[in-house]
Every structure is written in C-alpha cells, then in structure tokens.
Amino acid sequence: MNEQYIAKSSAIASRLLGGEMMIMSAADSTFFTLNPVATVIWQAADGLTPLSEIVVRHVCTEFEVDPEIAHRDVERFVEELSGHGILLVSERPFADSATRSKEAAWA
C-alpha cells in the first residue's frame, strides 16, 4: 500500500480547549470535536511526516494500541475528516502551506 501524508486544510479554525481539539470548517461551518487519539493525529498532521510514522510514533506509543488496530482506526478517521475537506491527503509530502490553501479551496 502506498504511503500517505496528511495536512490540515487552511480553510478551518481550530482550538485545543479542555484537552479536546475543536475544529470548525470555514466552508460549511461544520463543527468537530476530536477525541484524544484523533487530536494527536491532527496535531501531527504537518504534511511531511508519513501517516504510518505518525501512527507508530504517536498513536501506538502514547496510547499503547496494537499497530494493526491503530492503522485501521486512523485510516477511518483520516477518511472522515478528508471527506469534509478539513484534512488533506496525498501520496506525496505537501510542499508548503500555499499548496494546502490551494488544495483546500478545491476540496
């Protein structure tokens, strides 16, 4: 399976409050509250770190989850957030924030 890279869209507003990450889509005002695992993934979504590395380094280590289960859950999370256009997914590292803005506008 190809490697994946994830990056936050620039068309969102987010804030960590009381240990929960809250995200709002500027496009349609959809509101999301992330659980602790999803929050860790969100914070690590720098567009440059491979998703598999995020899972191993952050999810498996910090939450003591079996890698196979973690991969499955993370893929589901990524699919859901990318479906709303607030997380961007690519098979290559994202170049810079300008790229993310452009891709977000297309999402």
């Binding site: 929960e20 809250m22 709002m24 509101f31």
Partner: protein
C-alpha cells in the same frame, strides 16, 4: 440641492450616523430606535441611505454578505448596501421601511464585533444586581417566556438578540433595539456577563454544567454571522472559544413560571 437629514443610532456603544434626504424616514427611524438615538460620542461609521420604490422581490430572500477589495457588499431582496470599514462610510439602497435598515445594522454590527472579539447572539439578556445573564436557545426554547417572567428588579436588555462585547478580560452585554415576540425594545445599558444559559423547558427548574465542547457547539449555532468569509469564521470561532473559557456556560431547564428567576442568582 436636496435637503439632508441625519440621525445617529448607537447600539452597543457604537454610534452610526445615518444620512437620508427624507425627513419622514428620519422620523420613522427616530421612533424605531427610540432610546438608542442621538449619541453624544462622534460617529464611528456613516451611511448614506438612498430610498427607492419598494421592490417586488421577497425580503426573506437569502442575505448575501461578501468582502470585495476591502468593501463589504450586503444584499437581500429588499436592500443593497456597501460598507468600507477602512473609510468608515457606506451606502444603503432600500425603500422607506424600518425592516431593511434593521437587517443592515445587524449585519454591520456582526462585522464590527467579529474584529473586536465580540458577537451578536440569539438570546434574551437581562441585568440583575449589576450582572448580566444571557438566555440562548433555538426558536421556542423560551427566550421570550423567560423575559416575560422577569421580576421588576430585572432590567431587560433584549428578548431576541444580545450584543456581546469583549472588554478587558471579560465580556459585557449591551441592550439592543432588536426585539422578538415580546415586541419590546431592550434598555440601552450594559453590564458584565456573569452567565450564559442554554434554555430548555422541562418539568422542574434546574441548572446543569455543560462540557466546553458542547458549549462552543451550541454557542456557534446561535451566533449571528452572515458572511461566507473564512477569516470571519475564524474570528467568530476563536471569539466563541474565548468566551467559553471566561464565562460560565450552563444548561437551564425551566418550567414556565416566575419561580425560575429564583433559580438564577
């Protein structure tokens, strides 16, 4: 040369000077905004109002608010307006009715507040013992009911739209002329906000705490903002988060009689 008449409408401590060539319309505005006119402070913004013949288009056509080259353009079936915040001036085209200007003012104030950490909120608001409480909720949740039940020592700020301003480390609620079913304007005064309650009616009066995420979700649902502008959404979202961090937000279940005011202290 046509005569020019003017009137200053001050809501939330922000005076806006309105110019019109129609004295009848100026007097109509003076009646509509009685208690909120003729500020002693210099105007922050000015609008020229051009009166037109009534449009056949429905006034409930969806409002559109767009920022183009530093100028906000506001549009609905019954009005067209543009406002350059940098220059402090704007223009409104509408027929001689109080509803269109009311909508324009609401929109302009949401845009002003979005850059100052405040917002307009669908809520009733009242002052008691020098502190303001806001009562928010969807239509039918009880904003008008709780306003109607207020005892005599309560000053009603609004039964429909609260004006929330960020002041230093806290927030103040200001009265507004934006009335709901009670059809009564609020008092033109303000106080620090002590509580925000989200209303629901039930068999008994009780106050429960809310998780911050739920508070923000419900707050965002009830803040008025019209522009499809990502910077504005970001500002409003951050303002809502700041508010929830500083003001206790609780769920108020109440049965519609005056005892509810004994629960709110």
């Amino acid at each position: 040369m046509n005569p020019s008449y003017q009137i200053t409408v001050e809501i939330g401590g922000i005076p806006i000077l309105l110019h019109t060539q129609d004295d009848y319309f100026r007097r109509l505005l003076a009646r509509r905004y009685a208690g909120f006119v003729d500020s002693a402070a210099p105007p922050r913004f000015e609008f020229d109002i051009e009166l037109t013949t009534p449009s056949r288009k429905a006034p409930d056509e969806e409002v559109r608010v767009e920022l183009q080259d530093g100028t906000w353009r506001l549009r609905r079936g019954d009005f067209r307006a543009q406002w350059d915040p940098g220059a402090g001036r704007g223009r409104i085209r509408q027929s001689a009715n109080p509803y269109s200007i009311d909508s324009v003012l609401r929109i302009v104030h949401t845009l002003i507040l979005a850059n100052e950490g405040g917002f307009l909120l669908h809520s009733a608001g009242a002052i008691r013992n020098g502190r303001a409480s806001l009562f928010s909720g969807v239509s039918g949740a009880g904003k008008t009911t709780i306003s109607r039940l207020a005892p005599p020592d309560v000053t009603l700020l609004t039964d429909e739209v609260s004006y929330v301003r960020r002041v230093d480390a806290g927030y103040r609620a200001c009265g507004t002329p934006f009335a709901g079913e009670l059809a009564r304007m609020g008092e033109n005064c303000s106080a620090p906000i002590a509580f925000l309650f989200f209303l629901q009616q039930g068999p008994e009066n009780k106050i429960e705490s809310m998780a911050k995420s739920e508070a923000i979700r419900r707050l965002m649902r009830n803040i008025l903002f019209f522009a499809e502008d990502s910077a504005l959404v970001e500002n409003v979202f951050q303002s809502a988060c700041e508010f929830v961090e500083r003001v206790p937000v609780q769920r108020l279940t109440f049965t519609p009689d005056s005892r509810v005011w004994g629960t709110i202290q």
